[in-house]
Structures are given as C-alpha cells and as structure tokens.
Symmetry: C2
Subunit: 322 residues, 2 copies
C-alpha cells in the first residue's frame, strides 16, 4: 500500500458553501456562531463568506456583516471567496481579519465554463489574466491555480487528465506572464464524477509534470464516492482538502436537485485520524458543531458520522480489553 501522509490540512468551507444554498435565509448571527464554534475545534483554515452579487446569491447578501462580525481566534486563518474586482474590493475592506489570496480559476470543461460563467475558455483565460494583475496591483498575492470539473462535467461528460493538464498549462502561462509564483494546484470534482482510479490517474499525471506543487482536492459527495476518492488522494500523498462540516452545501447544477454537497469534514477527519494521519481537529468537538449546523439550517445534513458519533467516544466507554 502507498505511504500515507503524516498530517493533512483541512480548509473548512461549510459556512460559505452551506449558507449560499439553503432555501431559507440564515441569520448573520447564526453564521457567525458557526464560524466561531468551528474555530474552537482545531480547524485552522475557515472560509467564512462569499463576496458575490446579492442578486445572484441572496444567501450572501450579508457577507460584509459576517466578515466584520465574528471574533477571530488566534492561529486561525479566515478566508473569503470572490469572483471579480467588486468582490475583491469588498474582501479588502476586511483585510484585518481575512487572509487574502487570489486564484487563477479555470475549468477543464469548456461546456461548464460557458454554462457557469457565460464565457468561452479563451475569454475566461483573458479574464483570469486581468484578475491576476488586478490582485497584484492591490498587493493581494496569487498563489494557486484551481481547475473545476477536473474529473467530469454534467454538460460535457467525462474529462480526461489531458484536458486538466491543458487547463493547468494555461494557468501556469498566465502566472508566468504575470510574474506570480504558484505553490498550489486545486483539483475540483465539482459535479461528482471522480472515482478512486480517476483520482489516482489524474494525480499521477499532474505530479509527474509539476512535482513540487502542493495539491488540494476539493471533492463533492454528489454520488456518495467522495470519501473513497479522498482515500485515493491520501494514498497519492495529497495533504490538503476542502470540506464542509456536516456536509453542508449541496449542488446547484442541473439534474442534481437534492444531491449532496462537499465531502463532510468530520468523516474526512475520522478517516484520517483513525489511520494515524493528524488533522489537528478534535473530532468530538467538530461533531458538536455539526449538530449546531443542523440546528441552524433546520434539517438533517448528509453526514452519517454526525448521527452515529465518534469511535473515541465509544472506546472510552467500552468494557473490553484492547
């Protein structure tokens, strides 16, 4: 079996992903309560909000209130999300509490770029080039290339590693031309097309070309395979994952109404910790926060672990000899 990493870094995206998709409005105070509770679990990277157009994403009309409202905990990095200059300017207003860093965000699927961004791939490259220079002009570093739909796309079907490599090459070209140094490649299974074998194949291809880049996996559990895909990533030495507590969030894309969202943080933490991979997270504390998240959204979340409880809580009560 492949060597597993000693530790992984988890970026918790529950607040941002979760609250943009809930059908009923969530009070800013509840969003803040969740963010503050997450910071007490040992998570060190929390995405707190999305600076998007409130007409497009009403759930984040209060992004500025949330970003300004939570009490930052020492040692925790809080990040926001934005897609354009207006969003960046809003994020900059909170640079005292948010860690600001830009991304060259591409998609391996032209059909997805057209559907999601209403741009051709070439137009998107041009937009990313402009956005990279804009970030630099405002002293916000750009260190990451993200590739969405890296395993498949509802609108285009299967995506090959070659298509992802091609998108990454485009991203590195923009980085070179803009004079920025990329340190992280983020591969997203945006619509739940990955399998463990596809993860291994793609990671192998990316690694062989860019051996010194850190790789992040952003996995969705749309079809229930996210945890198996995460395991495949761990086997390939991936040390960075995005996830959401309770599996907060969902899938806004056509044909996925009611489908699950991101891989669930507590199940990822369980997988890692039970195999000796350190996450820095107190799992029982995180499960409590997952229960708080369910209470806030007012419905059951996809996490199974949330409803079963951790193994350590049972170990401490077990009567047997270990």
């Amino acid at each position: 079996m492949a060597d597993l990493p000693n530790e992984v870094e988890i970026q918790e995206e529950g607040p941002r992903e979760g609250f943009q998709i809930e059908p009923r409005p969530i009070a800013s105070a509840d969003k803040i309560r969740l963010i503050e509770a997450l910071a007490q679990t040992g998570l060190r990277h929390i995405q707190v909000c999305s600076f998007v157009n409130p007409r497009l994403v009403p759930g984040w009309a209060d992004a500025d209130d949330v970003a300004a409202g939570f009490r930052p905990a020492p040692g925790v990095h809080y990040v926001g999300l934005w897609f354009n200059d207006k969003g960046l300017d809003r994020a900059l207003a909170h640079s005292d509490r948010l860690t600001l860093s830009g991304s060259i965000a591409l998609s391996a699927s032209d059909a997805f770029t057209r559907k999601n961004l209403h741009r051709s791939h070439a137009e998107n490259l041009e937009a990313m080039r402009r956005q990279t220079l804009l970030h630099l002009s405002k002293n916000v570093p750009v260190r990451r290339i993200g590739v969405m739909a890296a395993f498949g796309c509802n609108f285009q079907g299967d995506i090959t590693p070659a298509q992802v490599i091609s998108a990454l090459r485009d991203g590195f070209r923009i980085a070179d031309e803009s004079g920025v140094t990329i340190g992280n490649i983020s591969l997203s299974d945006t619509m739940g097309w990955a399998t463990p074998l596809r993860v291994e194949k793609l990671l192998g291809e990316v690694r062989s070309r860019w051996p010194h880049q850190q790789i992040t996996l952003h996995l969705h559990d749309t079809r229930g395979l996210a945890i198996a895909n995460a395991m495949a990533g761990l086997r390939m030495g991936v040390t960075k994952f995005d996830s959401t507590v309770g599996g907060l969030g969902g899938c806004p894309f056509a044909a996925h109404k009611g489908a699950a969202g991101n891989i669930c943080t507590e199940e990822l933490v369980l997988l890692c910790e039970e195999m000796g991979i350190s996450t820095g997270v107190d799992l029982d504390a995180l499960i409590e926060v997952g229960r708080m998240a369910e209470e806030i959204v007012g419905h059951q979340l996809p996490s199974e672990l949330l409803h079963a409880g951790s193994l350590n809580s049972l170990r401490s009560k077990a009567t047997g000899v270990h």
Copy 2:
C-alpha cells in the same frame, strides 16, 4: 495500485435489513413489490425476509407471506435469514423458491455476543455446533463462516485481526467436527468501525491463513466510510459484497440512533462499474428501485446517488467530445 477484480457479486439485503428497522409497518404487498423490482435490475442474489420471532422483530411478522408471495424471476437466487431451529423450519417451508444455506455465525467481540445473543462465546460455539448438525439433518448445506464485529465493537472497542482469526479458527473447528466444507468467509463491520487500512490488514491476515476461501464483506455506513472500505476490499481482490438498495436499514445498536445502515447498493455498483468492474446490474434501473424504496418507507434514504442520478444518464445527454 493493486489489481481490481473483473467482476463482483452483490447480495442485495435491502428488503430484509430495511424492513426490520422501519418504525412504521410496511405492507407485505410493498415488500413483494420491492423484491420483484430488484430482481429486474440484474441483481442475482436477493435476501427477501427474516424468519425471526415476530415479538422481537415485528417488522417481519409477515415473513411467510412475503416468502410465499413474490413471483420468482429466473436466474435469481432468493435467500432468507434465520437464527434458530424454528426459523429454519419456517424457511424450509419455502424451499421451492428460497435457496437455503446455513452459516456458522460468530462474533469477534465477546461483549457483542453477550449483548446481542445473551450468550458467552463458548455457549455460542456450542449453539453453532448444534445448529450446524441440525442443518445437515435437514439437508441444508452449511458453507459459510460469518464473523460479526470484525473491525470493532461499541461494547468492546477495537477488535484486532488476531481476535477475528481466533473466531474463524473456532468456526473451522466446528465445520471440521461436523464434516462440512466451508467455501466462504463473511466479515461484517457490524457497527461501523472499519477503515480502509483495517480492511487491508484484516483481509491480508485472513488470506494468508485461508488463501482459497472466498471472502464476503458486509459493510455498514454508520460513520460514512463504507464506500472507502469497499474500495479497500476491491483492491484486496474481494469479489462478494452485501449491500442494501438506497442504504435501506439502519443500526439497531445503542448510541447509533438515526445512524446509517448497510453500504448502499447503487453507490457500490457505481464505484465498480465506473472502474470497469462488472456487477451485472443496470444502474439506472436500480436507482429507480431505490426511489420506489423511498416511496415505500415514506422518507429519504441515505443514498446520495439516488438523489443525483447516474453518470451514464448524463453522458448520454452531454454535448462535449469525449
């Protein structure tokens, strides 16, 4: 990466597992409807009912009606479950339509045997010895040793491979003494303690001692890791899995109220088929049956795939070049 098998055999246990745990009564006609629909999906092994004491499991008070009521499809093996001589006699009354076969059923956790069966391990061995002879006296073959709680136990904590090996040795001793030939070892993660590494370790230990036995994995998704554990089993060459459509069922054990049940058949089929492992199952047809199961039980089932739909259904509509 390890070689994966070319094909796997899935035993669908949704009707039996699912309907014993639902809080409200399920009509016999609905149980039969589900069984008949499952048989049209390409599944070749379906566990249809449990011949248990109706006072203990009211959900199966109608086991005889269900066993007598469904229309068997050609080429499909239907099985039942029983735990004692009374149950076996009831099953024998349906030997024209059920494939009858006995098991030496043990647990790797003494604490679980006491809690679940109200017997010591030694008493359980004695009961299994009697039951094996009883099966033989009625011309019902005994070909399998099953070990419950093979990865961990809520009452005893972690279970080591050595404890499972010890239970298996006890089972093979009973088989030898009774003159039966075992062909299958079934390892159950009854309470959701397995991880991919534990699966690999245990399978390695079992394989090295009994290299010619077929191994079945019976996985529960109590903490969301079942599909990653199944993947670990596939990597180790496991070709037989138990599962339930939609993830029907649940966990009757203390501290797991509301927890998930077995690994979900359609997600297991997706995992296999997307990696080129043949299951014989028409996934889109199975997803339709999963939706029927949700309608019958009257609530959402744990399966994510059920709510997202298959990849093939999207591939056929995708506009992109593959």
